[in-house]
Subunit: 217 residues, 4 copies
Amino acid sequence: MTQAPATAAVKVAKLNRVERNAWTKRKIFDAATKVVGRFGYAEASVARITEEAGVAQGTFYNHFENRQELLDQLLPKIGMDMVRFIRDRTGTADAARQEIKRFGAFFDFIREVPEFLRILNEAEFFAPIGYQKHLDNISTAYVRIMRRARHAGAIEDFSDEEFEAIVHMFMGARGYLSRRYSYANGAVTAVPVHVISAYEKLITRGLFGPRNENQQP
Amino acid sequence: MTQAPATAAVKVAKLNRVERNAWTKRKIFDAATKVVGRFGYAEASVARITEEAGVAQGTFYNHFENRQELLDQLLPKIGMDMVRFIRDRTGTADAARQEIKRFGAFFDFIREVPEFLRILNEAEFFAPIGYQKHLDNISTAYVRIMRRARHAGAIEDFSDEEFEAIVHMFMGARGYLSRRYSYANGAVTAVPVHVISAYEKLITRGLFGPRNENQQP
Amino acid sequence: MTQAPATAAVKVAKLNRVERNAWTKRKIFDAATKVVGRFGYAEASVARITEEAGVAQGTFYNHFENRQELLDQLLPKIGMDMVRFIRDRTGTADAARQEIKRFGAFFDFIREVPEFLRILNEAEFFAPIGYQKHLDNISTAYVRIMRRARHAGAIEDFSDEEFEAIVHMFMGARGYLSRRYSYANGAVTAVPVHVISAYEKLITRGLFGPRNENQQP
Amino acid sequence: MTQAPATAAVKVAKLNRVERNAWTKRKIFDAATKVVGRFGYAEASVARITEEAGVAQGTFYNHFENRQELLDQLLPKIGMDMVRFIRDRTGTADAARQEIKRFGAFFDFIREVPEFLRILNEAEFFAPIGYQKHLDNISTAYVRIMRRARHAGAIEDFSDEEFEAIVHMFMGARGYLSRRYSYANGAVTAVPVHVISAYEKLITRGLFGPRNENQQP
DNA sequence: TATGAATGAGGCTTCATTCAT
DNA sequence: GATGAATGAAGCCTCATTCAT
């Protein structure tokens, strides 16, 4: 989805210098995506990446300062693909229903881009800069959505700071669930319905539901 | 808390062969806990661990098959310490209140055993076997608690499978929150109150609250 | 002094092909002088030199066979600048006084062209061909001076071969002294007076002084 | 001379752990001496040194922190061998004669330990720490000798500071001469007599000779 | 002639593991 | 059981040089 990978058949012969340059960088980037998705960051040596890309090891350093720089670009890039993907299928229903849609779309995206899961999960330790960038991207967008829902009356009683915490909980929850349920023996599979339903209940009542009567002040 | 470290003053001279053996193994284990807590799994080389333990590198392999085996034992061990710690301060209030207590106790434990955070967070990628073991330990215990709450009428409308999903969401949320809020510049700090309050609202309404009226069938 | 660097404002637009060619070569040469002077031969990569010169790496090989060829041209070129510089301020005093002047002028030159010191000192190992060329240039000129002094009666009792040895001693002494005294914390500074006076005594007595009476036959 | 190289036939089997350790370190050290002597510091890669020593590359790092550390030990070590060598053949003649002896012994040492020349000459740029250490060793000892000669009345009219400068001139002169005359096509040869005689005249008159009458005040 | 991406050999260093003492 | 030196594979990166445009 999102973009045709650089490795698709392309008339290479026709490219000028600038294009060839971009094309090579793209080859390396795509190769890294594949390699990290398959083996994890730790096993994503420059040798492996360049071999997958079909270029010499030295070529790598014409396009990236060092190995880490590339690794740190991986997640933000794919993360933005994900944001677009989810946005495209959120629809216009009420806020609660939209959030459920988003939750589902997240898991759909994982199936579309199976590399994403590892790239996301391991990033915290192997690509911390990219991870932080991604987190900022996501949580900013997410908090904005929540504030709109609050403004529209769909959410009561949560402050902005609490939104931020909630967003982190959601991201954490998704991560855990995806790891637990989506990795069936290597391949990525659909998330069971009971996971969706559990999330739905928790969210609709907990976030979008009415203020709890018997809650202490 | 939990257990006196092996490095406490002990009459080494008086130990018999079996005890000396256990004592050495314990020294290595404790050293690994410290090293991983401070530097992470990736930097926890056998050389560093044995140096911290004050034994020779070769000694390591008299007690552990290989490096990975030790790393995989770290989390399950400390994880059980955590379970005990949390259980001890859960109290006997109503189910919802207990869950809030547990949430708080989790963050208290992190402050008591600062190594825990890294050992837990990185385990998924550096000690996957130990991580799985830990997850099983925790989720089993957690689901049992929820089932009891349901049986006592505090939770309605969640199936066993949904409980398992909920538990993963909780664990994921805690993990994210701890990473986001507990690591202030290296030291481990308290979690802000708005995080607690957001969690409380989400849980009490979402999990322990009444069935939502206007929810679709 | 010596020559205007190529980077001075020049009407590039007006140059014909031959001139443009020479101009580019000169830019590279000057850049190499700067780079070697600042970082030493070892750090003077083609990439660094061409960057300093503001041309592409490939351009380098249109003007020099390879990196070494350029490096080997550096010292002989600046060395000749030095010879002219020293000759210009030697004056017409008696031979001994002239030699002292030369000694001082050497250190003056170092201050005028601060790159010279590194280019000279490291050349022996990084640009041996250029070094040899420089040595030949210098010692030929120097020996000629001595022979003239002997012919004028200012020096007694030294053969031509001994002159050559003496010249090498002088060059070695200057090199050592310049390294020891001229490089004060990075910048090039003046040589202390006691160095000058020591040299003066050694030379005036040893070389230009009378034959020693109590010397064995 | 000096010490039997580690590679001499030795009953390796009989060595205990400590001795084996020292023996291995010595093998590496000696190999480095040979390699640097033959190819220079720049070509003295760890791979080459360990191959020459007959050990694995990793072994190197059990004995030296890194490549540079070893390189910086080379010169001071051999330099001290040289000092002993020269001292042993200086004799008890008068100060001037002793200095001539020292000059000759220096060149004898070069013939005994042909690696010395390159190790010394290149050290300034490739092993600056070792070079400085060596310089300090030598000049301290040398200045002490001169002060004794002055005290004994053999030298007049030189201050301590001037001695230091003189010593540097001597060292520089020897270096230059050795490079010029001792390296005949790769092999190390004897220094021609005219070099010795030139030095002798310069020194006996310049340093040990009487105060020059017609010298300006 | 100028360009600058591509190449690939080679350098230094780390580290889990083995094994003789 | 304890020791710690030895091993060698593997990783990251640099850089002179080539060559198609």
